[in-house]
């Protein structure tokens, strides 16, 4: 069965410091992997995705994520956090053989000025 784990409910980081939001997954086949961000009272916004190819994926707003097949992880990173990055972040996975997307429970990122 497919599953996604976001082990941290909340991540706090000082503005200007690097940030990491963790995601591990379990799928029986090869995965599509996604990160979405949700701001208060707004819909989910796409950040980046891994489909195939280079394991390091760059996305919107300076975010990037690295697909690690051996560790089944897809951690979200940013070299220098901004206060405006504070939001709820969701990791999602889809087995390439199905159409069903599985989302993690979300990690709230708080960037402190």
């Amino acid at each position: 069965a497919q599953s996604v784990a976001q082990p941290e409910d909340q991540v706090n980081v000082a503005e200007g410091n690097p940030l990491t939001v963790k995601c591990t997954y379990s799928v029986s086949g090869n995965p599509y992997l996604f990160w979405y961000v949700q701001y208060p009272n707004r819909g989910l916004q796409f950040l980046l995705k891994y489909i195939t190819g280079d394991n390091l994926v760059k996305g919107s707003y300076g975010f990037e994520a690295e697909f690690n097949k051996s560790q089944t992880s897809f951690h979200l990173k940013k070299p220098s956090a901004l206060v405006s990055d504070s939001a709820l972040y969701f990791c999602a996975v889809r087995d390439k053989r199905t159409y069903k997307y599985i989302f993690g429970t979300g990690t709230r990122l708080k960037v402190l000025a």
Partner: protein
Amino acid sequence: GAGVSQTPSNKVTEKGKYVELRCDPISGHTALYWYRQSLGQGPEFLIYFQGTGAADDSGLPNDRFFAVRPEGSVSTLKIQRTERGDSAVYLCASSLTGSGDTQYFGPGTRLTVL
């Protein structure tokens, strides 16, 4: 261009009533998804349409839930005999083809069953 829209934005109903939630996807997107998001949780997959047909409805929790997309564009999620446990935000997303394409989400409909 216009994004995914959902109506109504809020719906309050009484236990046992019937509700319909509407989704207007991005024009030209053949894939459409419905999700349910409860407080403190991630979106939970309900159903996936490719064109007019439901390619995967394995996420619908029971036979009170049904969705249609008769012309391959607008979709309606229908919930019969609503229960308090159905209270959640119902999200719709569309993508160009469904083959790993980016999903674009609507703002959601907040359903409250009293």
